[in-house]
């Protein structure tokens, strides 16, 4: 898969930045923002008279081998950015992360954070890959008479937790009770977006933090076609290193 990142910086600035950060993939220079304008993604929150005008809304296109967009993510606020690995897990792509396997009652759980390092404004993901045991189902969000799967993270300053992404559920018909309920019977993935808060308050909370530990629980209720088992709760934790923002400027030419 190819990779490139485009900005309106001159080649010299990109060269300096790439050297400082050890970046070897192409950083492409679009001075005058011609490509950014042709793409229709100039950041229109900036006054055209402003000297900085011409930079794009931050965003990522994932394209196929013909260059056709298969997925895209754009952010309205440049301080916030999703990591590529967090975008890929939402597309069910493989991410080579350090995972923890837990054998729960009636299912197997594999859990990982998409990234080992984050900084203020980084959106990364916590991933739960859940494999129900044979002939077992667990209840999906929307099930009202059973306990649906739920990931709950312990709140902590500087960490913003947004809505989790659940896959589409299946309809399960339980004939003895003549009821339809949303379930997962096959392996499924829950993706939880987490951001290090770039606001003043978030920055203060994370000022001296070098490693962040996020804890939470995964709750579920499993049933087979005869028996419903007691609801379960699995404790989980993830560690991620926190890096300060890069405030270094390019060296004068």
């Amino acid at each position: 898969m190819g990779l490139a990142a485009i900005s309106y910086d001159p080649v010299s600035t990109l060269g300096d930045f790439a050297r400082r950060r050890g970046i070897t993939f192409p950083l492409l220079s679009d001075p005058g923002s011609d490509t950014i304008k042709r793409y229709g993604i100039v950041n229109t929150t900036v006054d055209p008279k402003n000297e900085l005008y011409g930079y794009p809304f931050p965003g990522t296109f994932i394209v196929d081998r013909r260059g056709v967009v298969t997925s895209r993510v754009f952010e309205p606020i440049y301080q916030e950015r999703s990591t590529i690995s967090s975008l890929l897990v939402r597309l069910d792509r493989h991410v080579d992360a350090r995972a923890t396997k837990v054998a729960g009652a009636h299912l197997e759980l594999t859990s990982y954070a998409t990234d080992r390092v984050a900084t203020l404004g980084t959106h990364f993901s916590l991933v739960l890959d859940v494999r129900p045991a044979p002939r077992v189902h667990v209840y999906a969000p929307g099930a009202s008479t059973y306990r649906p799967v739920q990931l709950t993270l312990k709140a902590q300053p500087g960490v913003v937790v947004r809505g989790a992404q659940f896959p589409k559920s299946e309809d399960y018909f339980f004939k003895p009770l003549n009821e339809h309920v949303p379930v997962y019977q096959r392996p499924f993935r829950i993706v939880q977006d987490v951001m290090l808060d770039p606001s003043r308050e978030g920055s203060a909370a994370l000022k001296d933090v070098t490693t962040l530990t996020i804890t939470g629980t995964f709750e579920y209720q499993a049933c087979d076609d005869k028996v419903c088992f007691a609801p379960q709760s699995i404790p989980l934790s993830w560690s991620i290193d926190v890096k300060p923002l890069d405030r270094e400027r390019p060296k004068p030419q």
């Binding site: 192409p26 492409l28 490509t35 967009v69 754009f74 952010e75 990591t83 792509r93 770039p198 890069d246």
Partner: protein, 85 residues
């Protein structure tokens, strides 16, 4: 490696790149239309559309076209604010 990723063909750089747009963040809040009033889903090429072609110089002054970046599995094209500020 600061970011453990998946595919060695993508790897490292993107993790670092997410740092780039944050340079000088506190000092450079821009005046203008509130960002929240812009629906960024409406800007740029949509899913199913082909990206416009480009030919741009990279950090080593080597010319790269969109076509040259496409691999068998396609490509990831990132637009970021600036590596300068």
């Amino acid at each position: 490696m600061p970011c453990a990723l998946y595919d060695s063909r993508i790897i490292l750089g993107l993790c670092l790149l997410v740092l780039a747009p944050t340079v000088g963040f506190a000092a450079r809040q821009q005046p203008g239309t509130p960002a929240s009033s812009i629906d960024v889903e409406t800007v740029g090429p949509k899913v199913g559309e082909a990206l416009p072609l480009f030919s741009l110089q990279d950090q080593s002054s080597r010319t790269r076209s969109l076509q040259s970046l496409l691999g068998p599995e396609g490509a990831v094209i990132v637009f970021f604010r600036s590596a300068d500020w």
